[in-house]
Amino acid sequence: MERFTRRRILGGAALAGGALIAAPLLAACGSTPAPSSTPVSAKPTEAPRPASEAKPTEAPKPTEAPKPAVTVAPKPTEAPKPTAAAKPAKSKEPVTLRFHMRGGGDKSEPAIYVQRPDEWAQETGNKYKLEPIVGDYVGKLLALAAGNTLGDITFTTELANAHSRFVKAGILQPVDDFLGPYNVKKTEWQKGIVDALTYDGKLYGLPKCGHPGDAYIWINLKMFDDAGIKRPETYGNSFEDVATWASKLAKGPKDNREVYGYYVNVEGVQPITNAIRSRGGDIIDEKGLISLADTEPWFEWAKWNNQLMTVDKVHPFQQAMGGMDLAGIFAAGKLAMIHQQRSTERAVKLAVKDKFPYTTIQFPRGPKARGWAISINTHTGTTQSKHKEETFTLSYALADRRFAYLVAKEQGYLTGRVDNMDAIKELASDHFLQLQYKCEQEGEMMWRPKNLRAAELETAIKNHMDLLWLGKRQLDKAFMGELKQQLDQILAKPE
C-alpha cells in the first residue's frame, strides 16, 4: 500500500484550500443580470404652490430676484379622520425579507427595527432578516446594488441626496401600484414629505420620518429666571429676541466665557437652510442650477450669526467643544440655548434629568419665512427584491399609525403623518411633540441640486463661512460673491 506521507497530506490540504477559496470567487464573478429597472430620470416635483394663508406666519411676498418659488406654510387644520388601510393578507407561502438598516439600529431603535417588524411578521406570516450596515451606509448600499446582492427593503435618507441618487439609479421601487389595493393614501403624510419622495409623479418609499430639521431651540428656563428674563413663548420669537437673550445669559469675559448664551448651528446644510429659509431665502434656486448665496436672506443670516459668534462671542465653537456633546454642556449649565434638531430632545432629557427646568421653542421665523427643510428618512423596497408586495406591506407597517405611536413613545419624535397627534394617543399632550407637529405642517421639501451634489455644496459652504466665523474675513458682497461662485461651479458639474 502506498505510504500516506506528510507531503501528500500537506499537498492535499493546499489543494482543498485553494479550491475552497476559488469556488466562491468564481461564483461571485459569474455574470448576473444588472438591475432590470430602467433608471428613472428623477425630476423632483415642483415646490408646492400656496394653498392658503397660514397662521401665525404670514404668506411670504415674492422677494427681489425671486428665484425660489413662493410657498406658504399650510394652514394647521384638524387631522383628517384616519382611513383604515387594508390589512395585508397572510402570504400563501411565507417569505423572508432581507432588511438593510444602519448598524446598531436594533439596539438604539428597537421599536422600529424589532418590535414593529415582529408585529408585521405575526400579522402576515412572513419573516424578516435584519442586515445592518455599519459605517458608510450609502457607499455600501451602492456596492451591494452594483453587485446585485441588494436586499428587499432598505433604510434610506435624503442626506447628501442619497435617496434621490438611489431613485435615479433605479434601485428603489415606487409604491404607487400598491396604494390602491391596500387603501393607502398619499394624504396620510404631510405634503412636503410626499413632495420630497415624489419623482416623475411616482412615490418612492414611505417615510420613517420627515422632520423639519433644526427648527428648535432648547432653553434653560432656570437661567432665564435667574437673569430676570421673561420666559419665551413657544412660537413667535424674533431673531432680535434670541440675540438679546444670548447676550444677557452669557457669563464671563468674551474671550473666556464661563457660560455661553447660544449655540449657533452652522454645522450642517440643514440648519443653515432652515436659518436662511426663516428669512425668506434658500440655498439654491428651484431648478437646482444656481446658488442664491448673494441674496439678502444669506446676508441677514451671516450678519446675525457673525454678531453672535465674533462680536458678542456668546457661541461655543463646535471644534471648541472638543468632543463634548451639546446636551452635556447644556446639562452642565454652561450653555443657555441650543439650536438643534429633534434628536437633541432625547439627549437633553437623559443629560439634564431633573437638574433644572427647560423647554423647547420654535426657531424664529421672519415675516418672509418659507417652509422648514424636510429631512426625509424612509424604508423603501428595492427593485432587486422578488417580493414586491410583501416589501410594501413591511414598509407601510413602518410608516402607519401604529408605527407613529411606537416611535413617539420610544424615540420622542413624529413620523410625518397628518394624523400623528391622533395616532400617538396619550402622548399628544407632550409639548415637544406638539411643537414638532406644528413644524412638520410648515415643512417644505429640501432643496435638491440637479446634479445631486449636495455633499460638495455643504463642504464649500462650511469651509468658506468658517473664514467669517473665525474673524478672518469681513462680511461683504465680495465674500458672499466668492461663495456664490464656488457653489455655482459645483452646480455646473455634471451629475
Binding site: L10, G139, A146, G322, T459, K462, L470
Partner: protein, 331 residues
Amino acid sequence: MASVAKAASASRGFRGGIDPLGEIKSMSAARRREALQGYLFIAPWVIGFLSFTFYPMISSFWYSFNDYKILTPAVWVGLRNYLYAFTGKPLGADGDPLFWLSLLRTLTWGVVTVPLAVFGALLTAVLLNQAARGTSIYRTCFFLPSLTPGVAAILLWTWILQPQIGVFNSVIKAATGLQGPNWLGSMEWALPSLAMISLWSAVGGSRMIIFLAALQGVPKEVYESAKVDGANAIQSWWHITVPLITPAIFFNLLLGIIGSFHVFTSAFVATGGGPAYATYFYALHLYNQAFKSFDMGYASALAWILFVIIMAFTLVQIKLSDRWVYYEAAR
C-alpha cells in the same frame, strides 16, 4: 539534464534563454510534484493578491479614464479627469478648486511631521538604548501610544485640546495665566494640532523599534577604538553611530514620506478638513470625491496621481540614498 533543457529551449527559439515549459517537461516527476505543491501553497496568497489588489488596481486605472458612478455604466472620457484635476485653482478656473489646495496641505503635513517623527523616534531610541534601570518599562510606555486605535486616540485628543477645559489649556493657564489657542478650531493651529496627535504615537512606535535595533547593531568595538583615539561622545555619535544607522534612517524616512501622503483619519474624525480647509488633505479630498460625490472615475484618477507622486518621491530618495546611506554589506 541541463544540456537536454538547453537543446529543447533552442529548438523552440529560446536562444540562450530559459524555456519554462521545456524545463517543466524535462523535470522528473518528483520534482514536478514538488513544484506543484509549492505553487499550491502560495496559491491562496496569489489568488488573494490578484483578486483584491491587482485586479482593483487595474480596474481603478481603467475607471480613471471614465466617468463612473457605480450604478451606471462607465463612460469613456479619456484624460478629462486628469485635466480636471490639474487645471483647478490657482492654475485655472474650470478645474477642481480643491486639488492643488489639498496637495499643498498634504505636502505641508509631510514637511512638518516626517522630520519630526524620524528625529523624535531616533532620539527616543537613543534614550531607550541606555543601560538604565527600568528600560524595558520605559520602552513599553513609549510604544503603547502606537497601539492605540487611531479613531479612539483622536477622540481622546479632541478632549485634551478643548480650549476651555482641556488639559493642555488648563496647564498653560495655570502655569502662565494665558489662554491657550483654539487648537482644532483655529486655522493656524488645526494642522499643528493634528501633527502633535500624530507625533504622539509616531515617535514611540515601530520607527523607534527599528532605530533601537539599528543602534544595538552598531559594534561596540568601533566605539572603543574611537575612544582610544580620543573621540568624545558627540564625535562618536556623528562619525560612528549616524553613518552606521543610515540604512534605518533611510528606511524610516522613506516609509514616513509615503505614509505622510496617506494622512486621512485624523482630519476625517477631528476636523472634517476644516476649519476653512486648514486640514483638507489629499486623501480626504479623494474620499469625498469617491464616497460623498460618488465620482468614482475622478477619484480613481486622483488615486493614480497620488501613486505617481509617491513613486516619484520614492525614486528620488532611492537615487539620492547612494550619496549618504552606508551599507556595510556593500563594502
